[in-house]
């Protein structure tokens, strides 16, 4: 059982490191988006012809300041990215500490489940609304692979985190029983 615990601790440590790396990727992606993408409405409409049509309707009927609206939307998006990064760093660091034997609350597993569910839904929406189908085929494959890998590391943290908690509890109970027998 100790060997099994060690195995899951190693997986947890490695997956935690992966989650940390992908938080850096989120930051890089946001940075590249900010530098290389147009922040005007054309960038948003390029992805989806339907969204383009809806957006044009909104522009025609809008009685508010469009620039301010876009700025608020962009700030909101970046806030979400920052929250995502912070949560990933928390999950990654906690996973690595737990893999080395530290006792931590299971909050990181709960957050990892929520994030994994969010990514799954987001990827499903992206696939069904053809957001992955951008001009470049290579972009599509690379983005999809990275997203899948990111999801995979999160799932690995969840599974191994649960196993580590379970096995640690069983081992502690076993050790307590043995100590009681010795007494």
């Amino acid at each position: 059982m100790e060997a099994k615990l060690r195995k899951y601790q190693y997986i947890l440590g490695t997956a935690g490191f992966g989650v940390l790396l992908f938080s850096a990727w989120s930051l890089i992606k946001a940075f590249i988006f900010a530098i290389l993408q147009n922040t005007g409405y054309q960038a948003v409409s390029e992805a989806d012809a339907e969204a383009d049509r809806v957006f044009e309707e909104v522009i025609k009927t809008a009685d508010f300041d469009l620039s301010a609206f876009l700025i608020i939307v962009m700030i909101g998006l970046f806030l979400l990215i920052i929250i995502d990064i912070v949560l990933r760093i928390y999950i990654g660091r906690t996973a690595r500490k737990v893999s080395r034997g530290a006792k931590k609350s299971p909050a990181y597993i709960v957050i990892a489940v929520i994030l994994a569910a969010t990514y799954t839904v987001s990827m499903y929406i992206s696939i069904t609304t053809n957001s992955y189908l951008k001009e470049s085929y290579l972009d599509t494959i690379v983005t999809f692979l990275i997203d899948i890998t990111s999801l995979g590391t999160m799932i690995a943290v969840i599974i191994s985190g649960i196993q580590v908690r379970r096995l640690t509890r069983r081992l502690n109970k076993q050790n307590e029983k043995e100590a009681a027998v010795c007494r």
């Binding site: 100790e2 060997a3 099994k4 060690r6 195995k7 190693y10 080395r100």
Partner: protein, 389 residues
């Protein structure tokens, strides 16, 4: 192992096996010389470079770790310091590449040990010394392999030392640092090891570098999780292992002196060593980085003669001033021949097992000479031995 065991302890074992003082000095000198016979030294004395039995740190860092470079490194380290235990072991996981490396893991009482000791029978005292070095190192270096390999030789944070504190044995985490010039701090459990490198073939992953000097410290008892071990923890009890190494050396050298007819694995001359058990265990369990003084005192007590300090230059001028035809009869010449034989034998065994990790092995004697010039002297030596028979 270090000079304290390879030089002084080997002297003691040789004396207990029945060799005279002068013979013991030749044997223990040869045993220690295995840790010093580098390509740099061989170049200096103009000896055969293929007889190198070790590498300096700088030489190792300089050696390329491509396919041929790895073969070169493995030939040296697997032949003299990490004798493979079972060249036909089946790890039940991994492909052929992993299997070949797994099969190079060193352990005690393997088939190759029997071949190593047998090779030294009816041979020179230098061959005896080399065999004793190899034998002793199978105890100290077990569970590591003489090839740069992350998946075999790596260690990690699961590394604890068992230390005595206030009459109790406690488990203390080992702290590793990467400062080659800094001595190990045995009081606080801070040891120097090699850097972690994700590159499978990095020289940092050669042998027991990732465990630092712990395998060579006679007092050390520690637990760790080897990379090849399926997450199982291993307890390494150096005082016990070193004692067995000593007793086995006595038994092996009695075989080499023809006191015993055969050399069998798993046998130790506890009868000869028994009266000294307490004294030897006292030396082995003493927490000190260097036990030379204690082993020297024991050796001098046994023989009543003074054991000279090891001098690397002792036999150099004899070799360099000898004529080409007489070089093989000098001390170093005999050592080089014995080293070439040992390296040749181990390389051949590894090659015969279906692994190219130590290179290709050709029986030059049968197939006709088509290889490295250094080994030509080995062929003429073996022809001489056949002629004498």
């Amino acid at each position: 192992m270090q000079i304290d065991f390879h030089y002084y302890a080997t002297y003691c074992a040789a004396y207990l096996a029945g060799y005279s003082h002068d013979e013991c000095m030749e044997i223990c000198y040869s045993a220690q010389f295995v840790d010093l016979c580098t390509v740099s030294l061989l170049s200096r004395v103009k000896g055969p470079r293929s007889a190198a039995t070790t590498q300096l740190q700088l030489e190792a860092m300089d050696t390329r770790t491509d396919f041929l470079g790895l073969q070169y490194i493995t030939r040296i380290w697997a032949s003299f310091h990490f004798l493979p235990y079972d060249l036909y072991a089946d790890p039940k996981k991994g492909g052929k590449r992993y299997k070949n490396k797994y099969r190079l893991i060193c352990n005690t009482n393997g088939a190759l040990l029997v071949d190593t000791v047998a090779l030294a029978r009816n041979s020179t005292l230098q061959a005896v010394g080399i065999a004793m070095h190899v034998l002793a190192d199978t105890w100290a270096h077990k569970y590591f392999a003489g090839i740069p390999s992350l998946v075999i030789n790596n260690t990690d944070f699961h590394f604890t030392e068992l230390v005595e504190k206030d009459g109790e044995t406690i488990e203390r985490p080992v702290k590793f640092i990467h400062s080659p010039g800094t001595p190990d701090d045995i009081e606080n459990g801070v040891y120097v090891n090699t850097l972690h490198r994700y590159n499978e073939n990095s020289i940092m992953n050669l042998g027991h570098g990732r465990a630092g000097h712990l395998p060579d410290l006679s007092f050390a008892r520690y637990k760790y999780v080897p990379a090849w071990g399926n997450y199982e923890e291993i307890l390494k009890d150096n005082p016990s292992d070193f004692y067995h190494a000593f007793a086995q050396m006595v038994y092996a050298m009695k075989y080499l002196r023809a006191v015993h007819e055969t050399f069998e694995t798993g046998r130790y001359d506890t009868e000869a060593v028994g009266p000294l058990k307490e004294k030897i265990n006292g030396i082995l369990t003493k927490r000190q980085l260097d036990s030379c003084a204690d082993w020297k005192a024991l050796g001098e007590q046994l023989s009543g003669r003074e054991i000279e300090e090891f001098d690397l230059e002792k036999y150099v001028s004899e070799y360099t001033s000898a004529d080409a035809a007489e070089k093989d009869e000098t001390f170093l010449g005999k050592f080089f021949i014995a080293a070439l034989k040992q390296k040749s034998m181990v390389t051949n065994r590894i090659y015969s097992s279906g692994s190219l990790l130590a290179g290709i092995s050709v029986d030059f004697n049968e197939k006709g000479f088509k290889g490295i010039r250094d080994f030509a002297s080995l062929i003429s030596q073996s022809r001489k031995e056949v002629g004498n028979e």
